[in-house]
């Protein structure tokens, strides 16, 4: 238990958030296949992009296949953070449909806690995902060359991105008509995840797309983590990529704040 119960509102809020988060984690433990399913995407991406297309993609960037894989993996860590948005959206849409959200709204509960609990569960899940993916990456030939501090900072940035996308997913889950619709929108994650420095450098994309891709929040996280893991300098030739670390903090923080506010607004709107 995170809090000894004290009468202060803050303690209630923390306790509520933790109780809600624990529910989501328990649900996840009851369906470990779902966590495996989420991990399948980055793992398959290592196989497909790293090994199947690795030589070809590396050649396009004047790299060997193994150099390309070292370049690729921080991109896939980021990509895996992005794909978590699907789980979040589905979960919130399912709770909306089943009436769990309504039931919680009839409890004397801090409304933010209901959503923040989901987001806390996402962050904790992201840490588990990374704890599995990083060693897998090392099996594929990637090495974090930085020191413990920079590696921790990189992991921090990845989780921060997950937090931002968690709030985006919560907002989407509150907006879509149901879990079926959430499934259909999932395809939108692909451009978000791939029109960025994740798989191939944005400089190799058509020029009109380059600008968009460089400003993609994921690019900031990818480039910043590549820098912190110090595996590859990345393509530091534009303002955006030179300020990747700043943006890798600013983007997620901004998205989290906006997402949280819109989600709360939406929650209040439910009573119209």
């Amino acid at each position: 238990m995170m809090t000894a119960l004290s009468p202060t509102t803050l303690a209630w809020a923390a306790s509520d958030t933790w109780v809600v988060a624990r529910r989501h984690l328990m649900r996840l433990l009851r369906r470990p296949d779902e966590l495996l399913g989420t991990l399948l995407i980055p793992v398959m991406a290592v196989v497909m992009f790293g090994f199947v297309f690795g030589e070809a993609l590396g050649a396009g960037m004047a790299m060997s296949g193994s150099d390309y894989r070292a370049y690729l993996l921080p991109g896939l860590f980021t990509l895996s953070m992005a794909f978590g948005i699907g789980t979040t959206t589905m979960s919130v849409a399912t709770d909306m449909r089943s009436g769990v959200v309504d039931r919680m709204r009839t409890l004397p509960l801090w409304p933010v806690a209901m959503l923040a609990g989901r987001s806390l569960a996402d962050v904790l899940t992201a840490l588990v995902e990374l704890a599995i993916l990083l060693p897998l990456g090392m099996l594929a030939g990637w090495r974090p060359d930085g020191n413990a501090m920079t590696v921790a900072a990189a992991i921090g940035l990845l989780v921060l991105l997950r937090l931002a996308l968690s709030w985006t997913g919560i907002l989407l889950g509150l907006l879509v008509s149901g879990p079926e619709a959430a499934m259909k929108y999932f395809a939108l994650v692909f451009p978000l995840a791939m029109v960025a420095d994740t798989i191939v450098p944005t400089t190799l994309m058509p020029s009109w797309l380059t600008v968009l891709a460089q400003w993609n929040p994921l690019s900031a996280t990818v480039n910043a983590t590549r820098g912190l893991f110090a595996t590859s300098a990345g393509s530091a030739d534009s303002w955006v990529s030179q300020h990747a670390e700043l943006l890798a903090i600013a983007w997620p923080v901004g998205i989290t704040v906006v997402g949280l506010m819109l989600a709360l607004f939406r929650l209040r709107q439910l009573s119209r």
Binding site: V19, R27, R30, G99, D102, L107, S271
Partner: protein, 323 residues
């Protein structure tokens, strides 16, 4: 409020329209005394769930005012939430968690400390006969068990006012009886219950007072006996077999009884209001003999709430689904 006994629920002229629709509630008034079981009875789309959602702080309304347990639903939703229990039209327990985990989860969200939450969960599992299944995932529960768990969840904090939206819809007769018993037990311990139902029998059996609503308005209100007065007394009913002249039979009955019976061509029945005089039965028996029918075809029918509903709205509660 000026009365010395504060109503547990008070709705005054509450109107609600959803975006792009006509009025769903149209000046609804409702007073529910503390400690009573009050039935909200109406067909699909009458506005029952809308009323419950308003009273449980889930839905805003356009006009009128609403109080629950002496608190204004709009001005003090938190105060209301701390005093109510809600079991919605559809059960909202978590399928993946066990019954115990569900109860502990909601107990914690009701701000019970962990140890108290555990004890409370065990208590409620016992009370609702769920102890043997307590640690199994709810996914494997029967419909009746889910309902009981849902009811148990809504009782975690000993609510002053309990809202049950169609608590027995979709249950088999045995599970229905179990839910009814739970409601009676609660009522006897002083909890106020507002219960919505489409089943007239349910309202008849459980509720001290009944409000019939239709198109978002109360069309009749009272205890079950009072409502039955709307449609009058017991009636004697004769079924005329297929192939016999219904109108001819009606005239024969009229000659014996002294007034034309009410005629239902679809059901092929003739019915006569009983005014308590025993001779009507004799007269009817005479008519039956003359028609060559046996007393098998004669039945006494007490009016039920179905008749009241038909009488007040001109429609039965069945037969019309969505509007």
């Amino acid at each position: 409020m000026s009365t010395d006994v504060q109503p547990a629920i008070l709705l005054e002229g509450v109107s609600k329209r959803y975006r792009g629709r006509g009025a769903v509630l149209d000046g609804l008034d409702l007073v529910v005394g503390p400690g009573t079981v009050h039935g909200l009875l109406g067909p699909n789309g009458a506005g029952k769930t809308t009323t419950v959602r308003i009273l449980t702080t889930l839905l805003r309304f356009d006009a009128g005012s609403a109080w629950v347990a002496g608190r204004d639903v709009v001005k003090d939703p938190i105060g209301v939430r701390a005093r109510i229990g809600v079991a919605g039209q559809f059960t909202t327990v978590d399928e993946l968690l066990s019954g115990r985990e569900n109860l502990e989860l909601f107990a914690r969200l009701h701000h019970l400390p962990p140890k108290t939450a555990r004890l409370r969960a065990t208590d409620l599992l016992e009370r609702f006969d769920l102890a043997p299944a307590a640690d199994r995932p709810v996914r494997g529960y029967s419909g009746g068990m889910r309902r009981r768990l849902d009811l148990a969840v809504s009782l975690i904090r000993n609510p002053q006012v309990l809202f049950l939206d169609e608590p027995t819809t979709g249950l088999d007769p045995r599970s229905r009886l179990e839910v009814w018993n739970s409601v009676r037990e609660l009522a006897s311990s002083g909890t106020t219950v507002l219960l919505t139902t489409q089943y007239l029998e349910e309202a008849d059996r459980l509720c001290q007072r009944i409000s019939m609503i239709d198109h978002g308005r109360v069309v009749a209100e009272g205890c079950s006996a009072e409502l039955k007065l709307y449609v009058g007394r017991t009636r004697a009913e004769i079924s005329v077999p297929e192939g016999r002249d219904l109108l001819g039979a009606a005239h024969r009955v009229a000659m014996n009884v002294g007034s034309m019976p009410e005629l239902d061509a679809d059901a092929r029945t003739l019915s006569v209001a009983m005014n308590g005089e025993a001779q009507i039965l004799e007269q009817l028996a005479g008519a039956l003999r003359e028609l060559g029918l046996t007393t098998e075809e004669l039945a006494l029918r007490r009016p039920d709430l179905d008749d009241v509903f038909l009488h007040v709205t001109g429609r039965t509660t069945q037969g019309q689904r969505e509007r």
